[in-house]
């Protein structure tokens, strides 16, 4: 069943339009990546779906389940089962691990309980009273994903989850994302610059270029088509 449908999405900032008609689909329990060069509009697409204050959606339709998301307040979008993990400043620095997760639990319509979430992240379980500001980048990313998982969403939106992390932590986060998708059946749409990591986890890939989706490919197709990778991703 189709979970998320984005049709002809146009969006931009005060400085100008970024998206010129993006179309994409995420099926239930699917793990999809959105790839593209810097400035192609990946983050803009994700933020439009999450209903963030910026960018401004100029046209098109975003359908989640059977509901239209245009004009719905972002907190209400989150309560409908869509968890967004932004790129920077992912955690609340003064709140502890436990409080960060509990915040998501308290504001979700059908949350998981704290222990279930922490069982999934043994690293975090050991530092539950630690404030997020005293944690490493990798730990914070883990906490952000744990918090998104706590809301028990149908779809998780991850903006550059591997950015700025050491290679071994990238692998750990890859495993976590794959597990969340496999075991919990939560669909994931992730935006990534790190093509290798995206290829390692996602089943299907959209390639975004200059505000439009230019390709929709499987992992094998992307691996085999070097010309495509060169042209749109520079790798």
């Amino acid at each position: 069943m189709t979970l998320l449908t984005v049709e002809n999405l146009e969006a931009g900032y005060e400085t100008g339009q970024v998206l010129f008609g993006v179309d994409l689909v995420v099926e239930e329990s699917e793990l999809v990546s959105l790839l593209g060069r810097n400035g192609a509009g990946k983050t803009t697409t994700l933020r439009s779906v999450a209903g963030a204050a910026e960018p401004t959606v100029l046209g098109g339709e975003i359908t989640f389940g059977s509901e239209q998301l245009a004009g719905v307040a972002p907190y209400s979008i989150a309560q409908r089962g869509l968890s967004f993990v932004p790129e920077a400043r992912r955690c609340f620095p003064r709140l502890t691990v436990r409080e960060n997760i509990r915040l998501a639990i308290n504001h979700a319509s059908d949350p998981k309980d704290l222990e279930t979430v922490l069982d999934f992240f043994p690293e975090l379980s050991e530092m539950r009273e630690k404030q997020a500001r005293n944690m490493s980048g990798g730990e914070q990313q883990m906490l952000a994903i744990a918090r998104a998982l706590a809301a028990n969403p149908q779809l998780m939106l991850l903006d550059e989850p591997f950015e700025g992390l050491a290679p071994y932590i990238v692998r750990r986060i890859e495993d976590i994302i794959a597990e969340i998708n496999d075991q919990q059946g939560i669909a994931v749409l992730l935006v990534e610059q790190n093509v290798a990591a995206a290829v390692a986890v996602a089943d299907r890939h959209y390639i975004l270029d200059e505000g439009r989706i230019v390709e929709s490919v499987s992992t094998t197709q992307l691996r085999e088509n070097e010309e495509m990778r060169q042209r749109y991703l520079g790798v």
């Binding site: 999450a50 963030a52 204050a53 307040a73 972002p74 907190y75 209400s76 989150a78 309560q79 968890s83 967004f84 932004p86 400043r89 992912r90 609340f92 620095p93 003064r94 709140l95 436990r98 409080e99 509990r102 915040l103 998501a104 639990i105 308290n106 504001h107 979700a108 309980d113 704290l114 539950r128 009273e129 918090r147 809301a151």
Partner: protein, 374 residues
């Protein structure tokens, strides 16, 4: 939330201490403050101790909005004013079936003041929290000034205008003898300081409960990253409105105490200077901490009173003096000295304040102790 208590690691006295260190700290503060502050060597008079507690409660109420929610109110004096003026006006004039001067009239006045400030805070919040941080500060200032000028106008001869209300604003259970206030009720006489202490403790404990509750944790989330909070399902606008409301109620509660403390209502308490001092006290103490406003209000009032009363520095003690220095020429500029302290604190650690310093020194000492032992 039901899981809140089971989340914590349980066991042993140290963890109990860790968990209740704020209530314990408040009790220690209340018990120790007066003997320390009013001894001959320090400030030497009684009224300052109760005034300190009242201002601590007021600034803590303000900090619920500023430190915990990230909204800077530049007109917090208006909330204080509700607590000062409404009970005073009611006791002085009586109302409907209530006689003037009665205890019941006063209690009704207090309840009315808190209810009125809650409604006012909620409506004001609804109107202005969505405007952005700068406009929030400016609009609270504007509303506060509007209230100031209405009170100054003395509508219906109720507020006393620039003279304030100085006679007949106290209920019967407040006894005044030679400047000392006592509460007489049920055949018992309670010193004013302890009466304030009880209200202070109840107020601060309520604030502590709010701050550590899921509601309070959501406020911290709103102040730290509003967009992220929204993306997680927090209705940030509604949380901000409730924060204004609660902050107003706690501030008005402090106002009620201040009215009795000053035996009346003074218009200065509604002025922009009161609002400004509130912000400065909170920042001086450290807005990130529960005890920040307490430390800020204490330091501010201590410096103000100490420096204005302190003229001769006798070393080491006034009984055995080796050196005497006349400081009065310097100390007339006490506000400058206080300002300088404020600038130092803000430049070196804006959100940490004096309490942040104390905490980091304490944790450094603890680490050193551990190293020495090991």
């Amino acid at each position: 939330m039901s899981g809140e208590s089971t989340d914590r690691a349980t066991g042993g006295l140290p963890s109990m201490f860790e968990r209740y260190k704020i209530p314990l700290g408040l009790v220690v503060l209340v018990v120790a403050l007066r003997p320390l502050i009013t001894s001959e060597m320090v400030l030497g008079y009684n009224a300052i101790a109760s005034k300190m507690l009242i201002m601590m409660l007021f600034v803590a109420g303000f900090n619920l909005l500023f430190g915990y929610t990230g909204l800077l109110s530049f007109g917090h004096a208006m909330f204080l004013g509700f607590g000062i003026y409404i009970p005073a006006i009611l006791v002085l004039n009586g109302a409907w079936v209530l006689p003037a001067g009665g205890n019941i009239t006063f209690l009704v006045g207090v309840i009315l003041a808190l209810a009125a400030v809650a409604v006012y805070g909620y409506l004001l919040g609804t109107l202005i929290v969505g405007m952005g941080e700068i406009y929030f500060a400016l609009l609270t200032l504007a509303f506060s000034q509007a209230i100031y000028f209405i009170v100054l106008r003395n509508p219906g001869e109720l507020t006393g205008g620039s003279n304030g209300l100085t006679q007949g604003t106290l209920p019967d259970f407040v006894e005044q003898t030679r400047g000392e206030i006592a509460i007489e009720a049920f055949g018992l006489s309670l010193d004013w300081y302890w009466a304030v202490a009880v209200v202070f403790l109840l107020g601060m404990l309520a604030l502590w409960q709010i701050v550590r509750s899921p509601f309070g944790r959501s406020l911290v989330a709103v102040s730290e990253n509003e967009q992220l909070a929204r993306a997680m399902g927090v209705d940030t606008t509604s949380y901000k409105i409730w924060s204004v409301t609660f902050s107003g109620v706690f501030s008005a509660l402090a106002g009620v105490l201040l009215m009795i403390q000053n035996s009346g209502a003074a218009i200065e308490n509604l002025s922009v200077f009161t609002s400004g001092d509130t912000v400065l006290m909170a920042v001086l103490g450290g807005v990130n901490y529960f005890f920040g406003p307490v430390v800020g209000a204490f330091s501010w009032l201590f410096v103000e009173d100490f420096l204005t009363n302190f003229e001769l520095w006798q070393f080491p003690l006034s009984e055995v003096t080796f050196v005497t220095v006349d400081l009065s020429d310097i100390l007339v500029y006490w506000q400058f000295l206080l300002g300088a302290l404020f600038v130092v604190v803000v430049l070196t650690a804006p959100e940490e304040g004096i309490w942040g310093y104390i905490r980091s020194v304490a944790s450094w000492l603890r680490k050193r102790m551990q190293q020495v032992r090991a």
